[in-house]
């Protein structure tokens, strides 16, 4: 089993720094180095450094990429400007979610190119899905760059200050232009969900103002042979400011506090985007895309009565409502937990769950069955935490 797991370029670093390594999405990844709570708190108060090289990076080159991706994704792709990033879903014909992704619009001579960042656990499924739906008439070259490019995230209030001296950034040049940076751009002048080309560790790379923690910060893509150098420079620059290397454990508690869904928990092929509250990522006015017909019907139905809706829960006490635990309203079973943790920031037991729409109203008190005990749980919006501006 472990022979078939992939390792990121940082595997040896993780192992040498006391990480507990676990299988995740086909990769052997650090779940924690010291303590999930310590790593989580470092990200909220200073900065956290995450190896996210396991995420899939799929490049699309050719004149028809925007049109093709508009057919593949639920959100608008053609309207993206160079350097812009958008969250989207990939749905199947029934409107079930195959993956949630970020699409990057990279400029290219005379046409548009794109990069998709997909979940590690879905990468092979999505690559297959793309190949199945790409017609010979479409001029799109699909390149799975996952193992050629590494990716790290630096997140937290001090993230940009730590990364700034490690990169030369150009805001005025398109990322693929290859021209050397004329002036070093300030990273905090990049808009959220935008990216720029950078030079770092003597190599080309991209830096995006994105993340999965609810904090300010950035994510960097560099060639795989430069990842360790960039990581170590970030550790050296950040440690005096409170930066800590963080594993998937903290990544999960951080995204949960920030109300972000995780594929395999809040999202799967039996769930449509409306149930998940991701309506903003579905553009039903687009001419056509895979799953549109089913989603139109689902939208019409859910205006009347949706089968279930994603909510946040705040529980009494400290016990954690874990995935699969049942939710009750009185004696009626009304839903199930998809993710739960003890929130280090709020010092509260919190969860995300799906419940029937008639009991999804914030303020309502439900109960979660925690190993035979009914624990009161208040319905809240799933965003538990917002970073101070």
């Amino acid at each position: 089993m472990s022979e078939s797991l992939l390792r990121t370029p940082l595997y040896a670093w993780h192992a040498a720094h006391g990480a507990r390594l676990v299988p995740f999405g086909g990769w052997e990844m650090p779940v924690q180095y010291t303590s999930i709570v310590e790593e989580h708190t470092a990200t909220r108060t200073a900065a956290g450094l995450f190896d996210i090289s396991h995420m899939g990076r799929i490049n699309f080159v050719g004149p028809d990429t925007a049109a093709f991706l508009d057919r593949l994704l639920t959100n608008n792709v053609s309207t993206l400007k160079p350097g812009q990033i958008r969250y989207s879903l990939v749905c199947n014909e029934s409107g079930g979610v195959l993956d949630d992704v970020l699409v990057y619009r990279t400029p290219a001579a005379g046409h548009t190119d794109h990069m998709l960042v997909v979940n590690a656990s879905n990468r092979l499924k999505i690559v297959d899905w793309i190949r199945t739906h790409l017609t010979t008439a479409e001029q799109v070259e699909v390149q799975d760059r996952t193992t050629e490019w590494g990716m790290i995230a630096v997140q937290g209030p001090r993230a940009l200050e730590i990364v700034q001296p490690l990169v030369k950034a150009w805001l005025d040049q398109p990322p693929s232009s290859g021209a050397p940076p004329t002036a070093n751009a300030q990273l905090d002048s990049i808009d959220y969900y935008h990216f720029i080309g950078i030079e770092s560790c003597g190599s080309w790379g991209i830096l995006s103002r994105t993340g999965y923690t609810g904090e300010d910060g950035c994510e960097l893509v560099v060639p795989v042979e430069k990842v360790v150098e960039l990581w170590e420079k970030t550790v050296a620059a950040g440690t005096p400011l409170g930066l800590k290397a963080c594993g998937l454990g903290a990544r999960d508690t951080l995204r949960l506090e920030a109300g972000m869904p995780l594929y395999g928990h809040e999202l799967d092929e039996q769930t449509d985007p409306f149930m998940a509250g991701l309506d903003f990522a579905v553009k039903l006015a687009k001419p056509d895309f895979i799953g549109k017909r089913a989603l139109l019907a689902a939208k019409k139905a859910c205006d009347v009565q949706l089968s279930r809706r994603r909510v946040g829960l705040e529980l009494d006490g400290k016990r954690i409502a874990r995935e699969g635990f049942e939710i009750f309203h009185g004696d009626a079973r009304v839903g199930f937990v998809t993710s739960g943790t003890f929130s280090p920031t709020l010092a509260k037991s919190i969860a995300m769950a799906y419940v029937q729409p008639d009991v999804s109203r914030p303020g309502l008190t439900l109960s979660v069955d925690i190993r035979g005990q009914r624990v009161p749980a208040r319905v809240v919006k799933p965003k538990f935490y917002e970073a101070p501006k």
Partner: protein, 128 residues
């Protein structure tokens, strides 16, 4: 408490026997494996527990684990400090972080449990 004066269960609980009172806790190794403790449930005073029976549960951010009683007895005291704040167990698992005290029947011995040396060997094997 000196770890050398304790006996151990394979499931990482320790016992200290003083007359007819057994004090039970979990080992430093268990605490380090669990990390990020959030909650502990301990039995009611007066409950009679059999050896190897679950007497409570300990929850960390990652997972929930049952606690197993290494010896039979009746619960006479539970540690209010750790019940209020489970993270206190990690500060001193062999001392102030104890979990429960049992009154054990006359003639109770700890001979069926691991000696400190045997427990150390088990840990060495688990870490491989």
């Amino acid at each position: 408490m000196d770890p050398k004066s304790l006996r151990y269960a394979e499931s990482h609980e320790w016992v200290f026997l003083d007359g007819d009172v057994a004090t039970i806790g979990i080992t430093k190794f268990a605490v380090e494996q669990l990390t990020d403790l959030v909650f502990i449930e301990l039995p009611a005073i007066g409950r009679k527990i059999q050896a190897k029976e679950p007497f409570g549960e300990i929850e960390s951010v990652k997972a929930v684990s049952d606690l197993y009683c290494p010896v039979a007895g009746e619960v006479i005291e539970t540690n209010a400090v750790v019940k209020a704040d489970a993270t206190k167990i990690a500060d001193d698992p062999f001392g102030a972080g104890w979990l429960i005290k049992l009154r054990v029947p006359a003639g109770t011995t700890l001979d069926h449990l691991l000696t400190p040396e045997q427990y150390e060997r088990q840990l060495a094997e688990e870490q491989h």
